[in-house]
Symmetry: C2
Subunit: 662 residues, 2 copies
């Protein structure tokens, strides 16, 4: 069998597994796997470094299918290479409940899937983060144990999404030379030819952001191999623009949008079998082809062994530290540092904005956790995310621990997901809470993938003042609490900020958002408690000796108002209690008894929060009182805004008294 013929038959194995699985599921996207099969064959059988018997080997090359709808390409390749998680039965079970082979690749469904993709452009962003992580780890542990490429297969849709610009311009700036993006340039999107919506010269666009670029015929295996070799030697990230035919091989549908997202149909599938000379049953791979793939799957076994030798030669401390970080465990000194600082805070009781409190906390935690990587989307001085431990990363020096992400919230969040997926690092960001909207799709995916990424989001309410309603979060607490498996923290003072940071770091399987104030807040937690009270999600901050007539629930900066209102109610002879609610999600994980006890049975329940009411009925019922926002904010000094919108201790007291009298 000549090399070219062998290549083509190996590529056809991908094509027909994809065709057959989509046909069987009566749903799916055959076009991309058929078009990009040649690329995948060359990449996986000649270049990609991996070990199917040890798929989590940390120095493997990463492959990201950014065009996630082409999932059958990935599943087919993983099966062909011998990844245990992707048996032929799994492929036959494509798009069925419980299968590893979901409609789009889902991280966690099986080893070999490096990230969850489907929402276009996200994979490209993840890959930038993976490539950053590689460079960071390489600079810490040496290129003898950290030396791998990150490959991306991206479609036209990925490149059209705005996030792609943030990702590629950052990658070009940081000279991520081990990032190689192969663009499946098939010229087709769902509505038809790409040229009905876009006239961009993508190669010129990437070149404008400091990329190495190569244009090839994506069906020519020699050209693909040559391009990858060139890319591997580049001192900059590389775009390989690979011209392909979507649905390659389908006599009637190749090169059209008809093959993008629907089964070929029995007749056209048969015609494609004839056209590509593939006289095999559905899901049948001739043994010599499967063998050729399986042999390719063993290609890096020796490289893996060599790596293990090099790793074993490291000193024990380095090995232990490297493994600890890759497991995602926190260092031994973490808990002690938290407790020591907490004791100190109980004594000093500092009054400060929670963004400043976060900076102070980070000053302590970054000292004991060397794997945190901070950053900000061009708001370093406002987000207070940079501490003395975190020197800036530059294109030529990745020994630092702080990334100036630029004005790229979406690219930042997607890259952080990639860093977390890569392993060995704990990324935390900086941004304004309002701009959680800009990176929401990536935050959602962090939650879906159960990744520990931590978003520090400051200027969390009308308390930011003069910048006005375009910058004032109002609905964002509700909108973020709505995302499943995301922890949204809104601490009320420095001690709660410390506790929330502790929770965010200790939770290995979920992302967190910390919403922090611009304005100063007093210390409300004034006695030392070893327990992390915020871990309960909500807790009684001020209890009442007698049955409380009024229970006041609040989060973040409004806990101060709740405490003030409590004092005024007590003065008026009304028994009241205050419940601090730093994290709705954690409250839901508490026992029913605890929940009932915290909610209590005061005749009057009031919630105070400088956001909308949505979500608070959980605590106060739909006949409870709410003191908060009922629409957008306004531009003005923040104290006046709180007055203007009636979010004051007096308003809480007045509302409670009126209800008690009613």
């Amino acid at each position: 069998m000549a090399d070219l013929e062998k290549h083509q038959r190996m590529a056809n194995a991908i094509r027909f597994l994809a065709i057959d699985a989509v046909e069987k599921a009566k749903s799916g996207h055959p076009g991309l796997p058929m078009g990009a099969a040649d690329i995948a064959t060359v990449l996986f059988t000649e270049f990609l470094k991996f070990d199917p018997t040890a798929p989590h080997w940390c120095d493997r090359d990463r492959f990201v299918l950014s065009a996630g709808h082409g999932s059958m390409l990935l599943y087919s390749v993983l099966y062909l290479l011998g990844y245990e998680d992707f048996s032929l039965d799994e492929l036959k079970n494509f798009r069925q409940i419980g299968a590893r082979t979901a409609g789009h690749p889902e991280f966690g469904h099986g080893a070999g899937i490096e990230t969850t993709t489907g929402p276009l452009g996200q994979g490209l962003g993840n890959a930038v983060g993976m490539a950053i992580a590689e460079k960071l780890q390489e600079s810490r542990f040496g290129s003898d144990i950290v030396d791998h490429f990150t490959y991306v297969l991206a479609g036209d849709g990925c490149l059209m999404e705005g996030i792609s610009q943030e990702a590629l311009s950052l990658a070009g700036h940081l000279k991520l030379n081990k990032l190689i993006v192969i663009w499946d340039d098939n010229g087709i999107s769902i509505d038809g030819r790409v040229d009905i919506t876009d006239s961009t010269d993508q190669v010129a666009r990437f070149a404008a952001s400091n990329w190495n670029t190569i244009s090839i015929d994506g069906h020519d295996p020699a050209a693909i191999a040559s391009a990858i070799r060139q890319a591997q030697a580049s001192d900059r990230p590389t775009l390989i623009a690979a011209k392909t035919t979507i649905g390659f091989g389908s006599p009637k549908k190749a090169g059209t949008n008809g093959v993008h997202g629907s089964p070929l149909g029995a007749e056209e599938a048969a015609a494609t079998r004839t056209a590509l000379n593939w006289p095999h049953e559905a899901f049948e791979i001739p043994s010599e082809i499967l063998d050729a793939w399986r042999i390719a799957g063993l290609r890096s076994a020796q490289a893996h062994k060599d790596w293990q030798k090099r790793f074993s030669a490291k000193d024990a401390d380095t090995r232990a530290e490297f493994e600890r970080r890759n497991r995602g465990d926190l260092p031994a000194g973490f808990e002690a540092a938290v407790q020591e600082y907490k004791k100190q805070l109980a004594e000093t009781k500092p009054k400060m904005a929670t963004r400043k409190a976060s900076e102070a906390v980070l000053g302590v935690l970054n000292e004991v956790i060397p794997e945190t990587i901070g950053g900000s989307a061009d708001l370093t001085g406002s987000n207070n995310t940079k501490t003395k431990q975190t020197a800036s990363v530059t294109p030529d020096d990745f020994s630092g621990r702080y990334i100036h992400w630029g004005i790229r919230e979406h690219g930042m969040a997607a890259a952080m997901n990639g860093m977390a997926l890569h392993g060995g690092l704990v990324p935390y960001s900086g941004g304004f809470l309002i701009f959680s909207d800009y990176c929401r799709p990536s935050i959602r995916l962090a939650a879906l993938m159960k990744q520990r990424v931590i978003h520090v989001m400051t200027h969390d309410s009308i308390g930011l003042g003069e910048d006005g309603p375009t910058h004032q979060p109002v609905e964002h607490y509700a909108a973020l609490r709505a995302i499943p498996d995301l922890m949204f923290f809104r601490p009320a003072d420095i001690t709660e900020t410390l506790e929330c940071w502790q929770l965010a770091l200790e939770t290995k399987d979920a992302p967190s958002v910390l919403a922090l104030t611009r304005q100063d807040l007093p210390a409300l937690r004034t006695t030392y408690e070893e327990d992390n009270l915020c871990a309960r999600g909500a807790y009684v901050l001020i209890d009442s000796e007698e049955d409380a007539a009024v229970s006041i629930f609040a989060s973040g900066s409004e806990v101060e108002l709740a405490v003030e209102a409590h004092g005024k109610l007590q003065e008026a002879g009304i028994a009241a209690r205050v419940i601090s609610v730093p994290c709705f999600e954690l409250f839901e994980t508490q026992s029913e008894d605890y929940q009932a006890a915290v909610i209590g049975n005061s005749p009057v329940k009031v919630a105070v929060e400088a956001g909308i009411r949505m979500g608070w009925d959980r605590f106060i019922g739909n006949n409870g009182l709410f003191v908060g926002m009922h629409g957008f904010g306004a531009s003005g000094p923040y104290k006046k805004l709180y007055e203007h919108f009636g979010i004051t201790a007096d308003a809480v007291v007045a509302a409670a008294q009126a209800k008690l009298k009613a």
Copy 2:
């Protein structure tokens, strides 16, 4: 006074008004107005077509300050030109509650502000929409009455945000030659020099997407004028890359990030006065400079008169139609068409997906409303937004009514805001509901600006099936209901779809999202009602003759389940009622009596929705029953998914019965 000196003094008037206002407010961004004052002076005094005495003249040129933090540039210019809304007192009141001069320009605060900006990149997106609107209107009404430019002043941040790529690539593709973007290339962002985060050759980047590009010294008035003249003559959109010095004139802070977002301080303000030879008190503009500006403000008065003559020469029908569309009134035949179709539906009772229902409704409404402009972000066949009336717009022909937006949800939504702001058109989009996350910042701004943009968002739940959790909205109903002043509709059948479309179109001062199913739904509204029942937000679909033991609340596709559960409960001898809840926001506008009547007092209240619970406690209380999602979805055939997640009529019945027995 020589021309150059005059120019410089006029530009300094902007600089010092900005310096003084920021100084007085003790808050704000002086750097951009100081740096871009030369550009603004040339643009507004020599090129921009406008009439301060008729600021809403529909054929005025549009100016968009995409770098909205430089708001004092705009307010200063509007004051200097004689716009009534921007008096000197308003400038002195910068960033105070109730002032027209908010921290960022806010649409509606005063004539002369064309759009709300601040979240970076949005203005650029709006401007693309305005330029599209101009071409659409020109092709309908002729260039004698529609012939204006759209100018943008954008900063580094605007160009770094991903939305800029979507906006510029679309503009280049559509050859929006009357769009002129001036990039305030000052090389500084908040964290420092732009080159610490970006290495993009922006001129090359724009050129790669079919833009005309010109590079100039942004402090040279002759170069600025020459560039604008060249741009006006281009057959493509133009980027003018204007090198400027941020904080121009400040001896100590010019060219640094220290002048971006903080007052200069009294000392440096004084030093700047000396350096720029501006020996005037705060807010004092020498009369000859103010006169020069005011004279410039009259520049287009004759052009406006000429336009009026040309407009008057049009036939009465054309004038009336043009004015109707610009007022945003719907045509006379609208209501009749709705009623006629509603009658027909009551007879035919078609079973279909609500996305198909929307297509059918649009087939009727697009016939009577010629100003609707449809589109889709590359999902035309899935969103069903194209009807026989809507031919595609192409770069060379804007007579069509359908825009293939490409895979650019964010750019689409921002451009639609610009189209609505421009006036004369009613834009509606197409996308998947999951991707509301991709364009959420623009949807929020539509709400803040009270603009009628309508988002058709299909595939609205796990009912989309095999594409899986990356594509299945779960938290999106709550997250969109959370945005103030946005109407989120989730119709249950074709009649509700018609009613929701009617409401979206009739509501001139708010955006709408229509969440529509992929899967078929039966007709649930089977008798003709002239009233729009969806206008109540929630209404009793099936009442109970006796006191209902169970009330079932549902929206969209789950109303079918509620009706089925109702039948089963009746069979079991349990009196029940069904409430359809197509729009939370409209329900909140009803009388308390109506709300109480709809909610009722059944001992058991159940909500059924294929999303999370958040928001439903408003109807069912915090001890109500909820049948819905508790986390992310999964990949599989949709009927199996509904079973898998326990969202079935039987689950509703079982939960209700269990609670009744408890």
